[in-house]
């Protein structure tokens, strides 16, 4: 409970940063994303370098210390700050933001369940001024939504763990310095046997497999990671080794999502906003112009106005859900329900909005004459990764119904 009154506006300082990021997104990201879309597997180095500069300059998206997660150094609002920035930069290019330097999803996992020593050892390097990446490898060809089905094994061998298995779809997996790899230490225990391990690039037995060819977000690297008798130090088991805390392994993965889902939702909102803004600009430039007709009954709206108003309301709905989920995180309140709501909503809204915008602008919007077709291709994965729309609905439904995963599979 708070005595502060409700306030939906960013602080003035934050608003200034967002305005700056907007210009950056417009100039350094959007044009690069269009080029990268046409040249898959060629990293948009210029934009990545620019993002890196931005982050080092303290204006970035979760800049500052990755070790303690203080983001830009304002402890009051780190998740919220970071998702405001994520929306702005994704308005420019979500696909490039996914390639931003930093510890990435792996870092989020280390932050969520690593020991203080592990945070120091594995995250510190991301502050050394060089361009570095991190990744998380959970998904396998036979285990996506159903994390408990993972087959990669970790077997203890003296002071080491031996990892064996193949991971797929790891974002920034090939370029990562540090990968957090989820494996089972005891298949008979199902999800309770799952733990996370920190694997460094170049470790013998760890190699990169194929890079995926995707429909969208082509500027983002999606890699297969192969582990063959990959030997890592015992201390690379993420979190405490203490077996009584074994459950923490799986819970750690879930806690990572409470952290990252609002961010993914904000990215989706950024794309949706870009698409709608572009569409409205085109409509406005046509003879006769266009206005939204706010506050009028639907009987008074043209089909175009009605469609645009509907999209605008849906985008704002998704945006507010994402912000609320991040706000709760900053207040150290549980946010799993809200994080799933935000992700489910934004993942759906971004696809619907992009698809509708393509439809509204006619045949030209199917071509590269407009960025809309790219955004539509980019949008779809936001309803899939970090938990599909269905998985989010399961999370929400279980919470509102009070069901376990056994009661509502």
């Amino acid at each position: 409970m708070t005595t502060h009154a409700l306030d939906f506006d960013p602080t003035e300082k934050e608003a200034n940063i967002l305005a700056f990021l907007h210009t950056f997104a417009e100039n350094a990201m959007r044009p690069a994303s269009i080029i990268a879309d046409a040249h898959e597997h060629e990293r948009p180095q210029g934009a990545i370098e620019a993002l890196h500069q931005l982050q080092s300059g303290g204006m970035g998206y979760r800049s500052g210390s990755a070790v303690d997660g203080t983001g830009d150094g304002s402890p009051a609002a780190k998740a919220l700050t970071s998702i405001l920035r994520a929306e702005e930069l994704s308005w420019g290019a979500a696909s490039i933001l996914l390639s931003r330097p930093g510890p990435g999803l792996g870092g989020a996992a280390i932050q969520a369940s690593g020991t203080p020593a592990q945070k120091e050892q594995w995250l510190k390097r991301y502050e050394d001024g060089s361009v570095r990446f991190g990744a998380m490898a959970l998904t396998e060809s036979n285990a996506g939504s159903d994390v408990s089905a993972i087959e990669t094994t970790a077997v203890q061998d003296g002071d080491h763990w031996l990892l064996n298995g193949t991971k797929i779809f790891a974002t920034n997996g090939a370029c990562a310095d540090v990968v957090v790899v989820w494996a089972t230490v005891d298949k008979s225990k199902g999800k309770d046997g799952i733990r996370a391990f920190i694997v460094e690039k170049g470790t013998p037995g760890f190699s990169i497999g194929r890079l995926e060819h995707k429909m969208g977000i082509r500027a983002s690297e999606t890699a297969e990671l192969v582990f063959q008798d990959c030997r890592i130090p015992r201390a690379n088991l993420l979190g405490e080794e203490n077996p009584s805390a074994e459950k923490k392994g799986f819970k750690g993965a879930m806690a990572t999502f409470d952290l990252t889902r609002p961010g993914v939702a904000a990215m989706a909102v950024g794309i949706a906003r870009a698409a709608l803004e572009h569409t409205v600009q085109v409509l406005e430039s046509e003879s006769g112009g266009f206005h939204l007709g706010y506050g009028r009954s639907r009987a008074h709206l043209s089909a175009l106005q009605d469609a645009v108003q509907a999209m605008d309301a849906q985008i704002e709905a998704a945006r507010l859900l994402a912000r609320r989920a991040a706000y709760l995180l900053d207040q150290k309140q549980p946010n799993a329900l809200e994080a799933s709501m935000a992700k489910a909503k934004a993942g759906r809204v971004v696809v619907d909005v992009c698809a509708t915008c393509v439809e509204l602008l006619g045949p030209a919007a199917l071509t590269r004459a407009h960025p809309l077709e790219m955004w539509l291709r980019d949008s779809k994965v936001f309803d899939i990764f970090e938990g599909t729309g269905q998985v989010q609905r399961l999370v929400i439904a279980r919470r509102i119904l009070g069901y376990t995963s056994k009661e509502l599979p």
Partner: protein
């Protein structure tokens, strides 16, 4: 950014919620069937004092200063909770806000002093309401057909208003009307009909409406009816009242939508089919999840619009985009989840033992009736 209610408002919400749950919801079905609300419950609601919030002491309000203004956010919280319990009850219990809010915001000083202290000091629910809705297909807050014209005795109003809550007994009625000759896009002005027997005013039969039926909703026919201009200056009220009406609609939708989702959740957990609770099927569970998700979204859309009104109206700025988004999202959602609620109850959903069919009927009214609620 602060995405959490302050303590005082959270307390207000909890208080109204407890009242709504204990004193309103248990009677909702009976009242609906009888076509009448219980006066004592309405008076009790009135005595909670929400209408006096944000109104200065000289006018009989509870605020500390005379230049206070009613908070759209506070009123929104009250409305959500009452609409959750029963939309008909909310329409009746909040009908005095139609008079209190515009008067406090933009009222003519003389009229404020003449009307507000007596009304706010009343021990029973004042017979006050607002006449906004018109029956035309193109009814729209921005295209009123009821006209005002000026005579030597002051303004007179002509036109027909419909679905006026408690219009059968109202002694203070705010009417939104447009000056004669104004074009479509022009603004409306609020007028006040003072007293029960106003020359030129005739009250029609009760409207046979799909819902809610617990509250009398009547037609008012105005034939050069004598009215007082409510605002202290022409042209200052329109934007503010329009936006507050839209947020009112959103808040009512929020209440009904939340009610429908909660009702469906409870039922789906209890009802067994094929050896398990029906909620254990994803087709049901996902409908519920989506409903809960969108209710949460609507809450934030509505609160944001109300917050913006409270913050920006005093500066002369608009919250039209926010209010408009919330209202349209709300009207669509309230019906969608009410429909889902009936579906989840199956055949029992259409039986009047359950509230599901009431949500279904009531929720469908909300897209067509902006102006029903003033926050």
């Amino acid at each position: 950014m602060q995405l959490q209610l302050d303590e005082e408002r959270a307390l207000l919400k909890d208080t109204v919620r407890a009242f709504a749950k204990e004193q309103v919801r248990p009677h909702a079905r009976t009242w609906e069937e009888q076509g009448a609300l219980e006066g004592a419950a309405l008076d009790q609601a009135w005595q909670l004092g929400f209408a006096t919030l944000g109104i200065g002491p000289s006018y009989g309000g509870a605020a500390e200063r005379d230049d206070a203004t009613p908070s759209a956010l506070s009123n929104t919280l009250v409305l959500e909770e009452l609409a959750w319990a029963d939309l008909g009850f909310a329409l009746a219990a909040l009908s005095p806000l139609h008079v209190a809010v515009p008067l406090a915001l933009v009222g003519h000083e003389g009229l404020k002093r003449e009307v507000l202290p007596g009304m706010l000091g009343s021990a029973t629910l004042p017979k006050a309401t607002g006449a906004w809705v018109e029956s035309s297909r193109s009814y729209d807050l921005r295209a009123m057909r009821t006209r005002s014209s000026l005579t030597a005795q002051g303004p007179v109003l002509s036109g027909t208003k419909t679905l006026v809550p408690r219009g059968d007994i109202a002694e203070l009625t705010v009417v939104a009307a447009r000056a004669r000759g104004d074009d479509e896009a022009a603004s409306f002005e609020p007028y006040l009909l003072l007293g029960k027997n106003v020359s030129g005013l005739s009250r029609g039969q009760r409207c046979e409406v799909i819902g809610p039926r617990a509250v009398p909703l009547v037609d008012l026919t105005l034939d050069e009816a004598n009215a007082r201009p409510l605002a202290h200056k022409a042209g200052i009220a329109h934007g503010q009242l329009l936006e507050r009406a839209l947020v009112g609609s959103a808040a009512a939708s929020l209440g009904v939508a939340r009610a429908a989702v909660e009702y469906a959740v409870d039922y789906a957990r209890e009802r067994k089919a094929f050896g398990r609770a029906i909620a254990q099927n994803q087709s049901i569970a996902f409908m519920l999840a989506e409903g809960a998700m969108d209710v949460e979204a609507l809450r934030w859309l509505t609160w944001k619009a109300a917050w913006k009104i409270d913050r920006d109206h005093p500066k002369g700025e608009s919250a039209l985009a926010e209010a408009s988004r919330a209202a349209r999202f709300g009207a669509e959602l309230a019906f969608r989840v009410s429909d889902a609620c009936v579906q989840i109850l199956g055949g029992h959903g259409v039986i009047r033992d359950h509230l599901a069919e009431l949500f279904f009927r009531n929720s469908r009214t909300l897209a067509a009736t902006p102006g029903w609620f003033m926050v």
